[in-house]
C-alpha cells in the first residue's frame, strides 16, 4: 500500500493557461494566428487609447478634422478641469463606499447562509434554498419599481444607505459559496467540533480560511458589479452628493457634452481604479469571470 494523500482542499476553479512569465522564458514562436489577433487587438484597444489621447488634447485639437492622432502638445489641464467641473472626489468616495460595503455585506451574509445551507440540517432548508435560487431568475428590471418604493418607504431615497441596502446579499453569492463549502472535507469540521469549536468558530476559523479562492471570486465579482453599476444609482440617487462614479460621469456628460477633451479626462479618471485592480489581479479577475460560467 502506498502513502495516500491526506485531506486536501480541492481546487475547483478553472485555471487558464499560465499567463505568468515562466522562469526561463523561451521565445515563443510567431504564427499565422497573428494575422487575426493583431487587428482584433487593435480594434479592442483603439477606443481606449483614443480616449486617453483625446483627454490630453485641447478642445481645438479634439474637434479638428482630420483628428489629431498624435497631439502636438499635451494638456493635463483637462483633468483638473474635469475634476472641478463636477465633485469627482465625492463620486470616488461614494463609489468606494458603495463597492466596499456591498462586498463586505455579501462576504459576511452569504458566508453565513451558505454555510448553513451546506452543513446544517435545519427545518425548511431545501425549500428555502430553492426559493432563494429562484430569485436569481428574475431580472432586476422586474423588481426595480417596487424596490424603489420600498427604499422610499424606508426613507432612504438619495442616500448611500438606499444605494447599498438592496445589494448587501445576493442569492448568487450564497449559491456559489455553498457549492464551494460542500467540497471541503467534512472531517476538518468534525475534528474542529471535537477540538471544542462552536459552529460560528468552525465557519470563521476553519471553513472561511480554506475558502479564500471562493471568497476572492465573490468579492471581485461583487466589486466589479457595484463599481460599474448604473441603473440602480440612476433611479435612487438624485443629488451629486451621493452619486457614485458612473452616475457622476453621466452627469458630467450631460453638463459638458460638447467638451470632449474634458469628458474624456473624466472618463479616464473614472476607469483608472478598476483598470488598476484588473492589471494587478488579472489572474484572479479572469478566474472569477470564468467561474460564473462554470456553475
Amino acid at each position: 500500500m502506498s502513502v495516500q494523500p491526506a485531506v486536501s482542499v480541492p481546487e475547483r476553479f478553472p485555471r487558464l493557461p499560465d499567463a505568468q512569465p515562466s522562469p526561463r522564458r523561451a521565445r515563443l514562436p510567431f504564427s499565422a494566428w497573428h494575422l487575426l489577433l493583431a487587428p482584433v487587438a487593435a480594434i479592442m484597444l483603439v477606443p481606449l487609447v483614443w480616449m486617453v489621447i483625446v483627454s490630453l488634447e485641447t478642445r481645438q485639437q479634439a474637434t479638428s478634422f482630420p483628428p489629431q492622432l498624435i497631439p502636438s502638445s499635451i494638456h493635463l489641464g483637462n483633468y483638473s478641469a474635469a475634476w472641478n467641473a463636477v465633485p469627482f472626489g465625492q463620486f470616488f468616495v461614494n463609489s468606494l463606499i458603495y463597492s466596499l460595503a456591498t462586498v463586505a455585506g455579501n462576504l459576511l451574509f452569504c458566508s453565513l447562509a451558505a454555510y448553513a445551507f451546506a452543513r446544517i440540517r435545519f427545518f425548511g432548508r431545501e425549500v428555502l434554498f430553492v426559493v432563494l435560487l429562484a430569485t436569481l431568475m428574475v431580472p432586476f428590471q422586474v423588481i426595480l419599481i417596487p424596490t424603489f418604493l420600498i427604499v422610499k418607504k424606508l426613507g432612504l431615497v438619495d442616500t448611500l444607505g438606499g444605494l447599498i441596502m438592496p445589494n448587501l446579499c445576493s442569492a448568487f453569492g450564497i449559491f456559489m459559496l455553498r457549492q464551494f463549502f460542500r467540497t471541503l472535507p467534512i472531517e476538518l469540521e468534525e475534528a474542529a467540533r471535537i477540538d471544542g469549536t462552536s459552529r460560528l468558530g468552525i465557519l470563521f476559523k476553519i471553513v472561511l480560511p480554506l475558502s479564500l479562492p471562493a471568497l476572492a471570486t465573490l468579492g471581485i465579482i461583487q466589486f466589479m458589479w457595484s463599481w460599474n453599476d448604473f441603473l440602480w444609482p440612476l433611479i435612487i440617487i438624485d443629488s451629486q452628493k451621493h452619486a457614485p462614479l458612473q452616475l457622476g460621469l453621466s452627469q458630467l456628460q450631460g453638463a459638458h457634452f460638447t467638451q470632449w477633451n474634458l469628458l474624456m479626462a473624466g472618463t479616464v479618471m473614472s476607469q483608472i481604479p478598476m483598470l488598476a485592480v484588473f492589471l494587478l489581479a488579472q489572474r484572479w479577475f479572469i478566474r472569477s469571470v470564468a467561474f460564473t460560467g462554470i456553475k
Binding site: 491526506a6 471535537i194 462552536s198
Partner: protein, 373 residues
C-alpha cells in the same frame, strides 16, 4: 480515567439503514478496546456516536458515569484521530497541535508547554513550522496523534489511523501506539478492519458485523474460541477452513476427515480447521487428503493452497456479511500453513492431520460455536 459504556445503542440513518444494532459494550478505565469488522459493518458509526458526531437513534452512551447522548462533541472531553487525519491545512503543525487547547481558552504559556511536550514525545520538533501539505504520510499521522494527545482527553478515539500508511510505517506506528498507551493509560477505542492491528494492539477486541456485536474478548480468546462462523472466518490469516459436515455417534465427519467429538449431539455442523493447525499427520491423528495446487513460500513458513474432498463453507468477510457460500460440490479449496521443511510439491496429493482439540465445530443452522467436552 473513566470508561465508556454503550447500552443497546442503535443507529438508524434517515434512509432506514441500520448501521449499529443494539450494540452493548463496556469499556473499562484505561482499556485499549478494538472495534474490528469489515468496511460498512458499523464500527465507524459506533465510534462516531461515542465522539458525538452522530446521535444514537436509541440506547445510551456513557462516559464515566455521565450519559452523554445529549452532550455535544466539544463538551465530551474526548479526542479523535481521523482516518485521513483531518489536519487543518491552513495552520502550521504547531498551530494544529495547539488548536484544541486554544479553543478551550487555555493560557498561552500552558499551551506552548503542552504542545512542545507532545511534539517531543512524537518527534515532531523539526516540523513545527510546516503546514500539513508539506508533510509525509507518517508525519501527518504523528501530528494527528499529537493533536489528540495534547488535550489529555478522558477518552481517545482512533478511526483506522494507520490505514493510510505504507506497510513498514504501519508496523512502526503500531508499536509506537502500544507503547504510548502503556505510558498514558488513556481509555482508547480503536476502529480497524486490519486484524493484525486488532490482535496486537487491543486489550480486548469487539468483532462487529452487520451492526451487531459478534464476539467480545481478549484477542487470543477470540482467536482460540471464535463464537460463531463469522468470527472464525474473520479473525486469523489466512482464514480458517470451514467444511460442511455432520456429527454422528460422537464423531464429526467432513469428507475424509473424521474427528472424535465425544459428547456432541448428532446434527449438521461446520467443521473449522485453521491453516496453521494442519500438519503432516502423526500417529493416530485425524487426517484428510489434500491436493496441492499452489505453494507460496514465505521463508518462515509455506502457505499451501489446494483442494480437499469436502464441501467448503466460505465466509465472505470481505463483503461484510456472514453469508455462507457453498463452493463447488465435493471438492473444496483449502489452505494450510506448513513449516518450510514440509513443503509439498505442487500437483501432489498429501495427507494432513489435525489435533482433535484444534478442530472447531459450529452449528450448521445458527452458525454458533458448539461447546466441546
Amino acid at each position: 480515567m473513566p470508561g465508556v459504556t454503550l447500552e443497546a445503542v442503535t443507529k438508524r440513518f434517515a434512509g432506514g439503514a441500520v448501521a449499529v444494532d443494539e450494540l452493548s459494550l463496556e469499556i473499562a478505565d484505561g482499556e485499549f478496546m478494538i472495534l474490528v469488522g469489515s468496511s460498512g459493518c458499523g464500527k465507524t458509526t459506533a465510534l462516531r456516536m461515542i465522539a458525538g458526531l452522530e446521535t444514537p437513534t436509541s440506547g445510551t452512551i456513557q462516559i464515566g458515569d455521565r450519559v452523554v447522548n445529549e452532550v455535544s462533541a466539544r463538551d465530551r472531553d474526548i479526542a479523535m484521530v481521523f482516518q485521513n487525519y483531518a489536519l487543518y491545512p491552513h495552520m502550521t503543525v504547531a498551530r494544529n497541535l495547539g488548536y484544541p487547547l486554544r479553543q478551550r481558552r487555555m493560557p498561552r504559556g500552558e499551551v506552548a508547554r503542552r504542545v512542545s511536550e507532545v511534539a517531543e514525545m512524537l518527534g515532531l520538533e523539526e516540523l513545527m513550522k510546516r503546514r500539513p501539505g508539506q508533510l509525509s504520510g507518517g508525519q501527518r499521522q504523528r501530528v494527528a496523534m499529537g493533536r489528540a494527545l495534547v488535550r489529555e482527553p478522558e477518552v481517545f478515539l482512533l478511526d483506522e489511523p494507520l490505514s493510510n500508511l505504507d506497510a513498514k510505517l504501519r508496523v512502526q506506528m503500531r508499536a509506537a501506539l502500544k507503547r504510548l498507551h502503556g505510558r498514558l493509560g488513556v481509555t482508547t477505542v480503536y476502529v480497524t478492519h486490519d486484524q493484525v492491528e486488532a490482535m496486537t494492539l487491543g486489550d480486548r477486541i469487539a468483532v462487529i458485523s452487520d451492526g451487531k456485536l459478534q464476539q467480545l474478548g481478549a484477542p487470543q480468546e477470540v482467536y482460540d474460541r471464535p463464537a460463531n462462523v463469522f468470527v472464525a472466518g474473520f479473525i486469523g490469516s489466512p482464514p480458517m477452513n470451514l467444511l460442511r459436515g455432520r456429527v454422528r455417534d460422537g464423531s464429526a465427519v467432513a469428507g475424509d476427515l473424521v474427528v472424535p467429538v465425544p459428547g456432541v449431539p448428532d446434527g449438521d455442523v461446520y467443521v473449522g480447521v485453521r491453516p496453521e493447525s494442519l500438519t503432516p499427520p502423526r500417529n493416530g491423528m485425524p487426517s484428510l487428503g489434500f491436493e496441492v495446487a499452489v505453494v507460496e513460500p514465505l521463508g518462515d513458513e509455506v502457505i499451501v493452497h489446494g483442494f480437499v474432498g469436502a464441501e467448503l463453507v466460505g465466509v465472505s468477510a470481505d463483503e461484510g456479511d456472514a453469508a455462507l457460500v457453498a463452493a463447488n460440490g465435493h471438492r473444496a479449496e483449502a489452505v494450510a500453513c506448513l513449516p518450510p521443511r514440509d513443503r509439498p510439491a505442487e500437483g501432489s496429493t498429501i495427507q494432513l492431520g489435525v489435533e482433535p482439540e484444534e478442530v472447531h465445530l459450529f452449528d450448521a443452522e445458527t452458525g454458533l460455536a458448539i461447546a466441546r467436552g
